[in-house]
Symmetry: C2
Subunit: 387 residues, 2 copies
């Protein structure tokens, strides 16, 4: 087991009706905040009304900024920074999913920074102080509600970049599974793929001797694989959403990767896909992950065989490791297809014309991954396997 | 799933050599601290020397207080409070296991409180502020290094009481598995039983619909059951201790019980045992837990059957739930015996002369448990089953 630090100070309020506590939670930090959200769905579902009422009752004034889109844009971050400065807002409340939360973190980091907030995303520079943030989560997927990271797209260049800092942990995150009932099916599917990917990126590691972390990952994966199709079939079941929403948080709060190197190659390759083609991150992962597994399992079959046995319950009997690995990858592919997701680029309408460009950009900062170090040629091969 | 709050701000530094970072970690909070520990074993193992050197290099002055014993005493807490006040110490560093940490928390709560620190343990009163604490863990067992609780024994009355407050989370906890190599076998065995009990107390719940929490608990239990006998057989294996030490932390950091009622009846019954007979908490749990399970599984066989199947891998085939439950309890009993622990009171030299008194004291604050509410008669029956 490798040395590690485990630290996650975000306070999670989980359960029915908890979004009505947002005013009280926020008032502990500020009386004058930016309320950030995506589109009209928040208003249609009544969540916007409940949040603003709770803020008002708690004596918290808010200015609002809507219009955050998936693969959130740097231009909106800049707008939020200017709004906070102009209006003297000193707390950012994100009501939405990962895109809204990542935008909130970017604004929170930018307001107190005299330079260009994009510095944090494309250089080693990190903020020395940031505004506190809070979250009302409406889409379980990104895990950003209690992570230390933020991913933003600079639209001029179609560049999607991320950075991490312990200062980015939100102060609180409110997770009410009831808010998920109105999610469109494509978001349920893509969100579930994203959640599962967050666990897999921690599970597939070059290090052995991480028994507890392995088993915790397997626990989370089994729960996600069981509940995601149930949520898709009937999005009105509290207990199903409770499992998925809690799993989405645990998947990305940092715990499941402790003691070993993680492997985020798939994630990084997908970022290039969604930067160029603007497909949902989770939908892109369902295409990239099986291809990455096919490539990497050839030289590292053991962990993929364990995945097949322990997560999908495939009987080992007298199968070879590579056979087990292939069966596990095939089960994963089927799982994504059951969710209605494409698992090939062709189905998603993406041809090979940008493969070279995407592979080049994916490795621009150095080789990807830890189970296997991937250079441009290796990424090209994975994109070919994903066709 | 029940509503819950998940919050644990303790920063964990895990791995080889990490105890040498204690000075730097402590200096972030204080330059004048109380260093609290148990006996001479800390000095013999060289850990004391490494810690004090690290403190000195970081410019942290320390006064020390040794002599913390298992089932730690209120009298030593009072001594520590006076020492902190007299010397103007504003941070308590615990170097040891659960008893040292719980004493540190008690001192930290008492220094800034004008009344009697025992108030927190036997009334509803809670501290409004406490000194910050830090931990160098040397015995994986109690999980107190990142819990919000403290258990202290008032020796005049043989009263063992606990309290919880979010202020009690240590600021940091340093977990270096190398420090466990010199643990005596009886501490390895009792510590492992305590760790496993912390998971079981969360797993055995009257609530259904907690799939993720169930599976996370099962992951932890399998890891503990696999590694504890290995540590006992050869206490010098880093990877084995790494699993046990990390499992000991995860078992009691609060995560594994989320979304449901926990059941701490066994723990509370054991507190009466160790208060009267001064046996190690973990050793007492190995006696009480199987008896509690026999009693409670009669009316709630389903979860005990799941325990048997998923944790001990017993094939369900056409067995009834109660048969599976009994097999699981028998496997647990065998596991404790493999660790060299007694699983009956008689073996531990405890007769039935104090059963009535212990049962009465155990329920003095109201009935125990959640799977089944236990009154004095029910506790008596469990003690009988434990004979």
């Amino acid at each position: 087991m490798n040395n590690f630090i485990w630290y996650n100070p975000t306070r999670i309020l989980f359960g029915r009706g908890t979004h009505n506590e947002v005013g009280r939670e926020t008032a502990a930090y500020s009386r004058r905040i930016l309320l950030l959200y995506g589109g009209e769905s928040l208003k249609a579902a009544g969540t916007y009304g409940a949040i603003t009422k709770s803020l008002t009752v708690a004596g918290v004034e808010y200015r609002e900024l809507g219009g955050v889109r998936p693969n959130p844009r740097l231009s909106l971050v800049r707008q939020g920074i200017l709004l906070c400065r102009r209006e003297g807002l000193d707390f950012v409340l994100a009501a939405g999913g990962g895109s809204v939360i990542d935008t909130a973190k970017a604004i929170a980091a930018g307001v107190l920074y005299p330079g260009n907030v994009w510095d944090f995303y494309h250089t080693e520079k990190r903020p020395e102080r940031v505004l506190p943030t809070g979250v009302v989560l409406t889409i379980p997927a990104a895990g950003s509600e209690s992570s230390d990271g933020s991913v933003i797209t600079r639209e001029e260049e179609n560049e999607k970049k991320s950075f991490c800092s312990p200062l980015l942990y939100p102060k609180f995150a409110i997770l009410n599974p009831e808010l998920c009932y109105t999610l469109p099916k494509r978001q349920i599917a893509a969100g579930s793929a994203d959640i599962l990917a967050h666990v897999m990126e921690r599970y597939f590691s070059p290090n052995g001797n991480t028994e507890l972390s392995d088993r915790l990952c397997e626990a989370a994966m089994k729960t996600i694989i069981h509940n995601a199709p149930l949520a898709l079939a009937d999005p009105g079941r509290y207990e199903v959403w409770a499992e998925l929403m809690w799993a989405g948080n645990v998947a990305h709060n940092g715990l499941l990767g402790k003691g070993r190197e993680e492997d985020w190659a798939s994630h990084n390759i997908e970022h290039e896909l969604s930067a160029l083609y603007d497909i949902a991150h989770g939908a892109g992962l369902a295409i990239v992950f099986p291809a990455w597994m096919k490539a990497v399992s050839r030289r590292n079959p053991a962990r993929f065989a364990q995945f097949a046995e322990r997560v999908f319950g495939i009987e080992a009997e007298d199968k070879r490791e590579d056979e087990l690995a292939a069966l596990g990858i095939s089960c994963l592919d089927n799982f994504f297809r059951r969710l209605g997701l494409f698992t090939t680029l062709t189905e998603a309408g993406i041809d090979d014309s940008q493969f070279l460009r995407m592979a080049g950009r994916a490795v621009a900062g150095g080789s990807l991954g830890s189970m296997e170090k991937l250079d441009q040629t290796a990424v090209m091969e994975i994109l070919e396997l994903a066709r």
